[in-house]
Structure formats: structure tokens, C-alpha cells
Symmetry: C2
Subunit: 135 residues, 2 copies
């Protein structure tokens, strides 16, 4: 299988596959005489694993760690679950931060009724910080 086929199969850009190889997430495939990469089913599996982890928002570094766990089948899986727990905690932190931000933004938005000049815009005043609409 050449890189274009693999890319189409996995729904990934060709460049992305080469990028994962450079990052050490995909092992370097064999090369044909002309230098073309040739992949086997194993590579396709690994690529799908990466993409699946990415769809869960994991970083490439986290994915690399998970791969190393995969290569130690006898080890207790506590480390895997801890990694996932940290990842979930981080997602929750992001959500919480964004919710705080959303509230601040709505307060700011409430400072203008949309029918003024830029000079008197409550939103712009709020951003300038002169009058403080926030406690």
C-alpha cells in the first residue's frame, strides 16, 4: 500500500502521515526501489489509533505515551487510566474557564444597546477599562 492509498483509507492528508512519521508516532515504512513508502495493515491500524485518540482531543505526546503502554501488555493498566483521568480533568478545566469567559462576555455585551456611535459604545468603553462594569 502506498501513502496515497493509506491516506484515503484513513481519511487523512498525505502530509499528516509523513508528519506522524517524523514525530515518531508511525514507524518508518519500507521503501520501494524508487523511494516510495510502502505500508502494511499494521501501519493502517496504528494510524487509525492515532486518529481515534486525536478525536478524543489527546495530544500527540499523550498518544506516544499510550503507544508505549500498548507495547507493555503485561503491565497493570493503572497508568492508562490515570492518563485518561488527567486528560478529562484538563477538558473540564477548559470548559469551566470558557464558561467564566462566556459570563464575562455577556456582561460586556449588555453594556451596549447597539444604537450608538463608536465613541459612546458601551462595549468599547468596557474594553477600555475606564468605567468598570465588572466587580
Amino acid at each position: 500500500m502506498r501513502i496515497g492509498q493509506l491516506a484515503q483509507q484513513a481519511g487523512v492528508d498525505i502530509q499528516t502521515i509523513r508528519f506522524y512519521e517524523r514525530q515518531g508516532l508511525l514507524p518508518p515504512p519500507n521503501r520501494e526501489d524508487n523511494g516510495y513508502r510502502t505500508y502494511k495493515a499494521d501501519h493502517a491500524d496504528k494510524l487509525l489509533f492515532i486518529r481515534r485518540c486525536r478525536s478524543f482531543g489527546m495530544s500527540l505526546e499523550e498518544i506516544g505515551v499510550l503507544q508505549s503502554y500498548q507495547e507493555q501488555p503485561q503491565q497493570p493498566c493503572v497508568a492508562i487510566n490515570e492518563l485518561l483521568d488527567r486528560h478529562i480533568a484538563q477538558v473540564r478545566n477548559q470548559i469551566a474557564s470558557l464558561q467564566v469567559l462566556e459570563n464575562q462576555l455577556m456582561t460586556l455585551r449588555g453594556c451596549c444597546d447597539n444604537e450608538r456611535q463608536n465613541l459612546d459604545c458601551g462595549v468599547l468603553s468596557g474594553l477600555l477599562g475606564g468605567d468598570k462594569p465588572f466587580s
Copy 2:
């Protein structure tokens, strides 16, 4: 005022000020004979405006647009409020995406009880995609 003073006053790294200047968000200040930048109160105001916008999660590009509105005091402020509305909508989209992700992650987390080997870890199986715990 030199760059170090301005940085301390605004609670910003010196590099960040130079970075904003390169990005066109801060006007190039005058230089002393030795090449040192000298700032006035106006610069401090502009820097605080940028930082305040950043604390609301706005991009540097959005901030640039807001600055251009600021320089047109007579224009109706509708554009400002629309920019803010778009920004709020984007924050809400991010929150929604992250909440979907959080649910998926919790489902995945429920696939393992923490007391197995990596080989049998439900989390790892879920990431490998062989058995599909998701609809």
C-alpha cells in the same frame, strides 16, 4: 518611559510588547539616540486595551479590528457589537464541543475498572476501535 517600565506597569513581558509592535497592534514608539524605545501614556493605554481584550479571549486580529473602530468615533457601533456577538458565539461553540468530548471521554473511562493489564484495558480497547462502545 522605557520598555521595561511599560512592561512592569502593564504586567506584560518585554518581548510581548515588542511582539505587539511587530504585529502592528502597538504603534512604533520614538527611539532615543541609543535606539531604546520611549513610550508615552498613550502607548500604555493601548497596551492595556490589548491585554483587556486578550483576557476576554479575543484574537490579535479581532483586537486590530476593534482598534480601527476606535479610530472612527463617528461610525455607528453596530460593527463592534457584531464582532462581540461572533466572538461569544465562537466561545459557545467551543464549550459545546468540549462538553460533547467530555461525555465521550467519560463513556470511554467507564470501560475500565483500573485493575487489569494493559492487554485487557477497556480504555485501550476503546481507543483501538475494535469493540465499539459508542453508537
